[in-house]
Structure formats: structure tokens, C-alpha cells
Amino acid sequence: MDEGLSNIEMVDISKEASNEKELTMKIKSPGRLKLESWLNAVMKIEIEDGRTLIGQFLCTDRDCNIILGSCYEYPPPDDNASEEPRVLGLAMVPGKYIVSISVDDLMVHNSPYIT
């Protein structure tokens, strides 16, 4: 047992990991930086069937699939204005259905998450 243990070389994983992080930091593209600046901001997304979704922008990928947190769903404007929004919670909007994206610019600057 002792022999077996002594053969193992100890490697400092934490150092390697931090190196990697630095590396990725360097190659961040401008697009990515822009996306990151919007993270956690309130976003309004209109989708093809006319509904509007408002929620916190949490995640996206190359195909513009967007995940919104604490999301509310609003019916199409012409439908019935008095109707209450529906709580959806966490919702993923596939990119191909997105008609328009807006961001609440008050939140972009005031958001405590943005450094």
C-alpha cells in the first residue's frame, strides 16, 4: 500500500485551472463581451406567434437560443389587453422563433451583477 502511494506524483490542479481561465479571458470576442454585459438584465422577447416574454436574461448560445429566468408571458397585444400575464418561471426560447429582442436599459447599468 505504502509503495503504491509513493509512486503517485502530486499535481497542483488548481494552478492549471487558473491558467486555463486566464487563457479564455484573453480570447473573449467583442460579441461575447457584449452578451455578457446584458447578462441578468431584464429582456423582452417577441416570438412568432405574437406573444411577448419578459424575464431575466440568463444564457444564450450561437443559435440565439435564449434562457429567461422568472419569465412572464404576455398575450399578443391585439388579443385582450386586460388579460393578466402568465408566470412561466424558467423558459428557453429557441432562436428560430425570436422576432425581436429588447433590453431594459435601466437595468443594464444598475444591475448589481455587472462589474
Binding site: G31, L39, L53, I54, D61, R62, L90, S100, I101, Y113
Partner: protein
């Protein structure tokens, strides 16, 4: 965080900016916060996915807009004043389809309340329609109440949520009935006034339609009245005679069934029949989508009208069958009745299961609303095993302190019985999958009860020794509880077959357990009860003759203690009271033995596909299968080691030649087992024509032949494994080798 809706936002459009930015991401790369990862993303609902997104507006038929009640009225798409018969029939038949679909476990918002009229019954002006919708909602309300009361449903069976809709609760029963009666009478007049002279084709068609409307109203009135009969909690006279009530129910089901049959005949008169049945005036399948929680089954496929009406006809048949419960005054036979109802094919709907519960125990722990459950249980125990303490066999004199103590002790025990035994009845009302789950839990309660019963037995035994009554009380009430424990255990194991939980390579130890232990215990429980009963009978006869002699010679007139129990019915079978039960158990035991031997033999021949050894651990599987039985101390759980030890003989075969002859020996034994069972069962059929027994005989005979063939070396090299056919009997299969 998204803010409440009243907050004013300052939106900036970033569509093109955003879409350009995401192009900078690599394939599969995500832009997200440290706090949010793929794991969190997993739980997001996907918008525009037809399965997940309830609010999705169908783009495919974008021309059709979903209209709410008010919108439909405003755009004159919804007729409130005068609904023609054709539309009316369509609306009623669709409503029946909605009702039936709801009872199959769908939500009210997606079934009953896609009917716009049902959302606002007070705004309807058409007299017939208003009467119908009102009574329809009352029916839904009543059904919902009953199912909640009986509480034998799980989420897969029934959705009680009403989503804020009103179920006509503001309309009193009497008014709803008066409304519909009035409509019926008016229609009746119309039919009578219809002059038969000018019988052109057009008019006879109109006539047909009117009478179809009339039939539908009549059905709903009778259906509502039928359901009301089950409501005995609120009736002032709680002790309505159960028998006459059941007679009433039986009559009502006949009337309802007839009305349904004529509905079925006129079904083609309704608008939309045969086409997209739901797309008629008043129905908007998507109208309530926004009321549903974000993650909810999206679209509910409604039953077709014909299906739904047939379904209600079956419901009437089931109710009729359920009324036979009144013949089962003994708790044990009532329990059997409940389990048999639950095993019917197709499985009984949640409504019939609930109504059966309400029929048997409508009021808190009162059987048929009359006799307290404690008394019923005492009767059951008395009939089963005649405990000296319950039959005056202890020789105690009423009024003494000791008598009072014994009485209290007994009363307490039966009080404790109420909950687990009541649960057994309730479990029988659940669907089969939940039954199994609940059997596992109830065993714990039964084990505690068993312990208590044993203590009471011991105490009563010391008393019987003191009073010198000459009758032992050991393991008397205990045996009665044990009977229920064993039956529950057996049902638990068997239900695994019904639910197809076991793999074929597991069959051998399941059958082994039943064969070696459970049925052995059950038979000995019956034997014990039998000896108690005969002892009691001979004692009673002895006392009777002694009493006669005593009064004749005018000696002292004691023996007041056993005067009460004389009225108890003597069991008809004079010789052995449990001969039938024991024979049946022996037959099933023998069959289980046969399956076990056959399984081992087939395994030896390599006919059973087993999992690859590195993924398999028989011990783990064994312990998992029998874990629930381990909660009980008598009978104790048989550990895996013991199983291995006891089955060594069957499994030991070293070389190939030995294997073949060993297997063929085992097949021969299995054949004898099945043959033995068939003989016993055939003898039983002379006494009764129980369907269960006849199907078992069929299984035995077929298996016997198959085993004989296998023993003779037939299909030794068979490529395909054996098939198990559970169609004849749900627990004991026919073995097929192809």
C-alpha cells in the same frame, strides 16, 4: 429579476445587435453567468414546443382565433337565446365526452370547461340549454365531492382542481331538478302536440330531434338523482335502510342505462358528429390554456362521443355489479369482493371505485352507514376462529370485574383494528399500481396489530387458565390478524405479475417464496382456525346438552355467560369448516411449486435469459423484491442465504449430461405439481362454479402437458425462451414453449 408587470420599462431594441453578437460564440459555447449552468438550464421549459408550451398559439391554423365567452358572444359566434335541436344534441354529447375524459384523469380546464356555456351558465337564455348546463355542472360537482370523500385516487386518476370556475354551487339541488323537469315537460308537450297527420320527411326528422333532446335531458336528470342517492352524509336520517337504498340505486342504473342506449341511437343527429366533433358552437379546446401551470400536459385528446356514451353505459353496468356488495355482510367476503371489482377488465374508473367505497362505508367507520366497523370486525373474527373471549368460552360471569376488564381489553384491540382494516378496504379502491405500493406500507401497521393481538391472546389465556374453562386462547386473535397479513403479502407478491414488474429470470424465487412459505403459513392459519372452531362447536354442544340435563334435573341454572352467542349461525359445513379454503390454498401452493421447479429446470437448460453477470446481483434483486415483507415479524422474512441453502439441491448439477437428466426430473416434478393442483381444483368445482377456479384448472392442465413434453426432452435445444401467458389468470400464467 423580472419585475412585477406594473413597472415601466425603458426598452431598447437590440435584435440585430444581439443576433450579430451570438455569431461570435463557438458551436456549443454558452454565454452565461457563473451562477447559471447547464444543470439549471435543464429545467427550463421550451417555448413553442407543442408538448411543453401551454400558451402556444397554433400558427398552423392561424386564421382561427381562440375566443373567450365574452368575445364569442360579442362577435355573435355563441348563441344564447335559441339553440336548435341539432346543436343542442351536439353540445350534450360533447359534454359527455368532456365528462368522461375528465374522469380518465384529465384536468377540468381542458375538458369540462372548454365548453363556453359551462363557464357562464347564468347568461344562457335558451331554457333547455340552461337546464342542461346547470344539471351538468351539478353532476360534475357531486362527482368531484364523492371522489374527494372516498379518496381512493391519485394524480393519475383524477384532477380535482376547478381553476376558479363555479360548479353551479349557488343553484340548489331542488331548483336544478325543477328546471330540467320543466324543460322535459315542455318538450313532452311539443311531442304530443305534433300532429301525426302531416308526416312529411322533414317533420319526422324534427320530431326525432326533439325526442333526442328529451332523452338527453331525461338521462341527466336520472343520472343526477342516481348520484344523489350516494350522498348519505348530509341526509338527516343517516340510518337509511341500506338494502332498500341499494334497490333504489339498482333501479336508477336501469333507467340511466336505457336512456344512454337511446342517446347512442340518436347520436348521429348531433351537429359535428363523425367530423371534428369538438369543433362545434360552444366548444373552444384551447380557451383555458393560460390557466394551466407552465409545465402541464398540453393537449387533451377528448374521447369520441360514441366512446364516451359507451363508457357511461359501462359505468352503469359496473354500478349494477357493485350493488351486490349488499350480500357480503361478512367483512372477509366484502374485502374479497372489493379486490375482485378492482381486478375487472377494463379497470373500473375512479368514479365507480369511489362510489363503491361510499356504498360500503358511507359514514365514518360505519359499514353500510349502520353497523360500526369495530362490530363488523368482531363478527368477522368470531365467524373466522370463534375466539373463546368473543363467544363466552372463557366462562366469565357478566357483571364481574374480570368480565369488564376482558371486555375492555377486547374493545381496545378492535378499536385498533379499525384503522388498518379500514385501510385494507380503501386500498382495494385504488388503482392496481397504487395498491401494490400501499400493501407495502400497510404491512407495517398489520405487524403492530399482530403484536397487540398476541399480547391480548396471552392475557386472555392466563384468564382462561384461572377460570378453568378448558379452552386455550393462545394465538387465537393473533391468527385472525395473521390471516390478513398473509393475504396482504400474497397479494403484494402477485400484484407484481399483474403490473409486469418481474423479469422472467426472477420468477423462480417469487414462486419459491409463495410455495415454500406464504401458502404454507396461510394453510396452517386456516388449520388453526379450524381446530378452534371445532373445539368451540363441540364445547357448545356439550354445554347445551349439559344445560338441558341441568334444567331437566332442576339443578342450579348457571351458564349465563354463553347464552348470548347461541344465535350465532353455525357454519353449514359440518365436518371441516375450512376444507374449501385449505384445498384452494393447497392447489395454488402446488402450482407455485410447479412453476418454481419448471423455472429452475429451464434455467439449467439455458432457456432463461439472464442479465450479464457483471451487471447482475441476484441477492440485491431478491432483497429488493421481498424488502416490504421484512416489516413483519411473523412470518419472518426469509433471508437470501437461506434461499440459496434451501434451493441448493434443485440447482446442483455439474456436468452437461447430469444437467439434462436433472432438468427432466424437475420437469416431471413440476408436472406432478400441476396435476395435483388440477385434481384438487376439479374436486372444488363440484361445490361452486367459481370463475377463478375454472380458469386455474385450465392453466394447470395446459401446464401439465407442457411440462410432460419438456420432461420428455421436447425442445431441449429450443432457441427462444419460454413465454408466460397471463391472459387466462392474472397471477398464474400458462407456460408456452415455442
Amino acid at each position: 429579476m423580472a419585475r412585477p408587470p406594473e413597472v415601466v420599462y425603458s426598452w431598447t431594441d437590440i435584435t440585430s445587435d444581439f443576433k450579430a453578437s451570438v455569431k461570435d460564440l463557438e458551436l456549443g459555447e454558452l454565454a452565461h453567468d457563473d451562477l447559471f449552468g447547464l444543470f439549471e438550464a435543464m429545467s427550463a421549459i421550451e417555448m413553442m414546443d407543442p408538448k411543453m408550451d401551454a400558451g402556444m398559439h397554433q400558427i398552423t391554423n392561424g386564421t382561427k382565433k381562440i375566443l373567450s365567452f365574452d368575445q364569442a358572444v360579442k362577435t355573435e359566434k355563441l348563441e344564447l337565446k335559441k339553440v336548435n335541436p341539432e346543436q343542442f344534441i351536439g353540445i350534450v354529447d360533447n359534454s359527455i365526452a368532456c365528462l368522461v375524459t375528465w374522469l380518465e384523469g384529465h384536468s377540468l380546464a381542458q375538458t369540462v370547461f372548454i365548453n363556453l356555456y359551462a363557464q357562464h351558465p347564468q347568461k344562457i337564455e335558451d331554457r333547455n340549454l340552461k337546464a342542461f348546463i346547470t344539471i351538468f355542472l351539478k353532476v360534475v360537482d357531486l362527482i368531484k365531492d364523492y371522489i374527494n370523500q372516498a379518496s381512493v385516487f391519485e394524480e393519475e386518476d383524477f384532477q380535482p382542481l376547478v381553476y376558479g370556475f363555479r360548479l353551479a354551487s349557488d343553484v340548489p339541488e331542488a331548483k336544478a331538478l325543477a328546471l330540467i323537469k320543466e324543460s322535459e315537460e315542455e318538450l313532452m308537450k311539443e311531442i304530443k302536440n305534433f300532429a301525426p297527420s302531416n308526416s312529411s320527411a322533414d317533420e319526422s326528422q324534427e320530431m326525432k330531434e326533439i325526442s333526442a333532446v328529451h332523452t338527453r335531458l331525461r338521462f341527466f336528470r336520472h343520472f343526477y338523482q342516481l348520484l344523489l342517492k350516494f350522498n348519505r352524509r348530509e341526509s338527516p336520517n343517516a340510518s337509511v335502510n341500506a338494502n332498500s337504498l341499494i334497490e333504489d340505486i339498482l333501479k336508477s342504473t336501469h333507467v340511466c342505462r336505457e336512456a344512454l342506449n337511446s342517446c347512442l341511437q340518436t347520436i348521429s343527429l348531433g351537429s359535428g358528429y363523425g367530423a371534428e366533433e369538438i369543433e362545434i358552437m360552444g366548444f373552444e379546446p384551447q380557451v383555458n390554456q393560460r390557466l394551466l401551470p407552465p409545465t402541464f400536459p398540453r393537449y387533451t385528446q377528448l374521447r369520441s362521443r360514441a366512446d364516451a356514451i359507451n363508457n357511461l353505459i359501462q359505468l352503469m353496468d359496473r354500478l349494477k355489479a357493485m350493488c351486490k356488495i349488499k350480500d357480503h355482510t361478512n367483512f372477509h367476503s366484502a374485502l374479497d369482493f372489493f379486490y375482485n371489482i378492482g381486478r375487472q377488465r377494463p379497470p373500473p374508473c375512479v368514479l365507480s371505485r369511489s362510489l363503491l367505497q361510499l356504498l360500503y362505508i358511507p359514514l365514518c367507520n360505519r359499514v353500510f352507514g349502520q353497523q360500526p366497523l369495530t362490530e363488523v370486525l368482531q363478527d368477522a373474527a368470531r365467524i373466522f376462529i370463534a375466539p373463546p373471549a368473543l363467544t363466552g368460552g372463557l366462562g366469565l360471569v357478566a357483571g364481574t370485574q374480570q368480565h369488564a376488564q376482558v371486555q375492555e381489553c377486547i374493545d381496545q384491540l378492535f378499536q385498533q383494528c379499525v384503522r388498518p382494516m379500514g385501510s385494507l378496504v380503501q386500498i382495494a379502491g385504488h388503482n392496481l399500481a397504487r395498491q401494490r405500493d400501499k400493501f407495502g406500507h400497510i404491512l407495517q401497521d398489520l405487524a403492530a396489530l399482530q403484536e397487540e393481538a398476541d399480547k391480548v391472546d396471552a392475557y386472555l389465556h392466563t384468564i382462561s387458565l384461572q377460570t378453568d374453562s378448558g379452552r386455550s386462547h393462545l394465538a387465537c386473535l393473533g391468527t385472525w390478524v395473521l390471516l390478513h397479513t398473509l393475504r396482504t403479502m400474497i397479494q403484494y407478491l402477485f400484484s407484481g405479475f399483474e403490473l409486469s414488474l418481474y423479469s422472467v429470470y426472477e420468477y423462480h424465487y417469487i414462486f419459491w417464496y409463495l410455495y415454500e412459505f406464504l401458502y404454507g403459513w396461510l394453510i396452517s392459519a386456516y388449520n388453526r382456525a379450524e381446530s378452534f372452531l371445532t373445539e368451540h362447536q363441540s364445547m357448545a354442544e356439550y354445554l347445551k346438552s349439559k344445560g338441558k340435563a341441568a334444567s331437566a334435573t332442576n339443578k342450579k341454572g348457571g351458564q349465563s355467560g354463553n347464552g348470548k352467542n347461541k344465535k350465532k349461525k353455525e357454519r353449514s359445513a359440518t365436518g371441516r369448516p375450512y376444507a374449501k379454503e385449505i384445498a384452494y390454498c393447497q392447489a395454488v401452493q402446488s402450482m407455485c411449486g410447479g412453476y418454481y421447479k419448471a423455472m429452475v429446470a429451464m434455467d439449467l437448460e439455458g432457456k432463461i435469459r439472464r442479465p450479464r453477470t457483471e451487471f447482475d446481483d441476484e441477492r440485491v434483486r431478491y432483497e429488493h423484491r421481498f424488502a416490504a415483507l421484512g416489516q413483519v415479524s411473523t412470518p419472518p422474512l426469509v433471508p437470501y442465504v437461506q434461499f440459496k441453502e434451501m434451493t441448493k439441491l434443485e440447482f446442483n448439477a455439474t456436468d452437461e449430461n447430469d444437467k439434462a437428466s436433472h432438468a427432466s426430473n424437475l420437469y416431471a416434478t413440476a408436472c406432478r405439481h400441476f396435476h395435483h393442483a388440477a385434481t384438487i381444483l376439479t374436486a372444488l368445482t363440484g361445490q361452486s362454479t367459481d370463475e377463478n377456479v375454472t380458469s386455474l384448472i385450465r392453466v394447470c392442465k395446459t401446464n401439465c402437458v407442457v411440462m410432460r413434453l419438456l420432461a420428455g426432452g421436447h425442445r431441449r435445444e429450443g432457441a427462444t425462451g419460454p413465454q408466460f401467458d397471463f391472459t387466462v389468470h392474472p397471477h398464474l400464467p400458462i407456460v408456452k414453449v415455442t
